[in-house]
């Protein structure tokens, strides 16, 4: 009799466990939402609790965050990304580089919040002045959404970090060119040319860039002068010398090969044999 009772008790208990578990899973799947994250305390407090194991705790939070942000069923997941990566993990282990850029990637590509992504990368670089990878990534992020001036500034910061490869100065020069400030870009490329750390290949690239940009800059300047002439005289000049004679330019520039720039009076365009090498 007693054995029967015990078996009955076990059966009832097992049933209870099974059904309740299923029910709890369903409720869970229906989405408890971001309530998890609301309770994630500030990194400083977690650091206190960790009792000397803060880096390990940072790892666990990071691993958890990776899983959490890989789950696409959660709505409104991005509200706390900056808190988790920039505050919790960063406080626990400020030297941990990976979370800064992963958090930034999540924020920019999925959360569509580029500014927050940049802030995260800034914070990481602030705490790790030799982690040039962070402003490097920030620079590309700015490039992606067209802010070349900011991109150039980031590449500058990255290039100046201790241990950064000298190639970063080339990126800076390249971004400067894309801002449209060609003369400035040429100066930057000249810095690269003069940098003793660069090898021959890098210097060759710099030389080509200077050449191309010089042509473009000169053409740009000449086009502007022609436009000024036209505005003044109602017609394009017959030749480039006319520009000098009329006083709009003081002297004519020469192209990188030492030749004069060619002028087509009918089209009103300036060109150079030098540019045809690169075809810019």
């Amino acid at each position: 009799m007693r054995r029967l009772l015990v078996m009955l008790l076990v059966a009832v208990a097992a049933l209870g466990v099974g059904s309740a578990r299923a029910r709890l899973s369903d409720i869970d799947a229906a989405g408890r939402g971001n309530k998890d994250l609301l309770y994630m305390p500030n990194g400083k407090y977690l650091k206190a609790i960790s009792l000397g194991h803060a880096p390990l705790l940072a790892d666990f939070v990071y691993l958890w965050a990776i899983q959490y942000y890989s789950d696409y069923t959660q709505a409104d997941r991005y509200r706390y990304v900056e808190h988790v990566f920039g505050d919790v993990i960063a406080e626990l282990d400020p030297g941990y580089i990976d979370p800064y850029w992963l958090g930034a990637v999540i924020l920019t590509t999925e959360g569509k919040d580029e500014e927050a992504g940049l802030r995260l990368l800034d914070r990481g670089f602030e705490k790790n002045p030799s982690a040039w990878i962070l402003p490097f990534l920030a620079g590309w992020e700015c490039e992606r959404f067209g802010r070349f001036d900011r991109a150039a500034a980031y590449f500058d910061r990255a290039a100046k970090a201790p241990g950064a490869p000298p190639d970063l100065f080339r990126l800076k020069a390249g971004m400067t060119a894309r801002t449209g400030n060609l003369r400035e870009a040429i100066s930057r490329w000249q810095d690269v040319l003069g940098d003793p750390r660069n090898n021959d290949e890098a210097r060759a690239i710099a030389a080509r860039q200077i050449r191309t940009l010089t042509v473009r800059a000169d053409v740009q300047d000449l086009d502007a002068a022609i436009a000024a002439f036209r505005a003044r005289n109602g017609r394009p000049p017959h030749s480039l010398d006319e520009l000098v004679r009329s006083g709009i330019v003081s002297a004519l520039p020469q192209d990188p090969d030492g030749n004069a720039y060619a002028y087509d009076p009918s089209a009103g365009t300036v060109s150079s044999a030098a540019s045809r090498v690169l075809g810019s």
Binding site: A48, L51, H53, P55, I66, Y96
Partner: protein, 254 residues
């Protein structure tokens, strides 16, 4: 000296023949092995997880060993009355305490060497150089020596449960001693400030012995830091052991 060595070896032998030690050690080694797989879950540097888990395992399981073995060291002898014949020998009381502490140190050294070796292997398997972790491992051992000294101190005058509570409390406070610094700034009165300063200076500052973050990120320690930390930890431990000897000197065995 011979007496201290004899007691130390005996203590070591007792710990070795106690299965608890093997359990703790097995856990530590399993954890280090598991870290290899856990590291696969991460995005970015995998070896960081292995290093963090390994260093924390060395510390944590070392702590368990220090507490479990340490708190019953003296107490068991008194409880089981093996101490009567022992102290009737031409052995001075302080030699007894030092012998016990030396034996415990041997056990901890063994634990750190084994778990440390496992960690170095695990890191090497991931293709990274484990040499940078050595300062952290050494300082972890120094921290364990300090905790063990407290365990022996408590064990010399109270039962294992209270001794364990006391030792763990010391560990916790030791890792929060930076908070006394902050508290001092918030305190209004001078007495409060003085108390905070006193506590901050007097209590063991275990966080100074914790260089896990630097070791894992491959950052060099400031010059002289390592030596100063080792001296701090070992000197403090010496003070506590001396205190334990004094306490034990006065004990009566009813």
């Amino acid at each position: 000296m011979n007496a201290i060595i004899a007691i130390a070896l005996n203590t070591f032998r007792e710990a070795i023949r106690d299965r608890i030690l093997y359990l703790i050690l097995a856990f530590a080694l399993v954890l280090i092995a598991v870290s290899h797989f856990v590291s696969l879950l991460t995005v970015g540097s995998e070896v960081k997880i292995v290093k963090d888990l390994g260093l924390s395992a060395i510390s944590f399981f070392g702590l368990l060993t220090a507490v479990f073995v340490g708190v019953s060291l003296v107490f068991k002898e008194i409880e089981r009355r093996t101490i009567y014949t022992l102290l009737a020998q031409p052995v001075r009381r302080w030699q007894f305490v030092c012998g016990k502490y030396a034996g415990l140190s041997l056990v901890l050294a063994l634990s750190v060497v084994l778990t440390g070796a496992a960690l170095l292997v695990a890191v090497a398997l991931k293709g990274d150089s484990p040499v940078g972790l050595l300062p952290a491992v050494v300082l972890a051992f120094v921290e364990l020596e300090l905790i063990a000294a407290f365990a022996v101190l408590f064990s010399s005058f109270t039962n294992p449960i209270l001794a364990a509570v006391g030792t763990v409390a010391t560990y916790v406070v030791g890792h929060l001693s930076w908070s006394f610094d902050l508290l001092e700034k918030r305190m209004a009165g001078d007495i409060g400030k003085a108390m905070c300063r006193g506590l901050h200076a007097f209590l063991p500052n275990l966080d100074r012995l914790n260089v896990k973050a630097s070791a894992v990120h491959g950052l060099a320690l400031p010059p002289g830091y390592f030596a100063a930390a080792v001296v701090y930890g070992l000197s403090y431990a010496l003070l506590i052991v001396i205190l334990a000897c004094l306490v034990f000197e006065r004990r009566e065995f009813v």
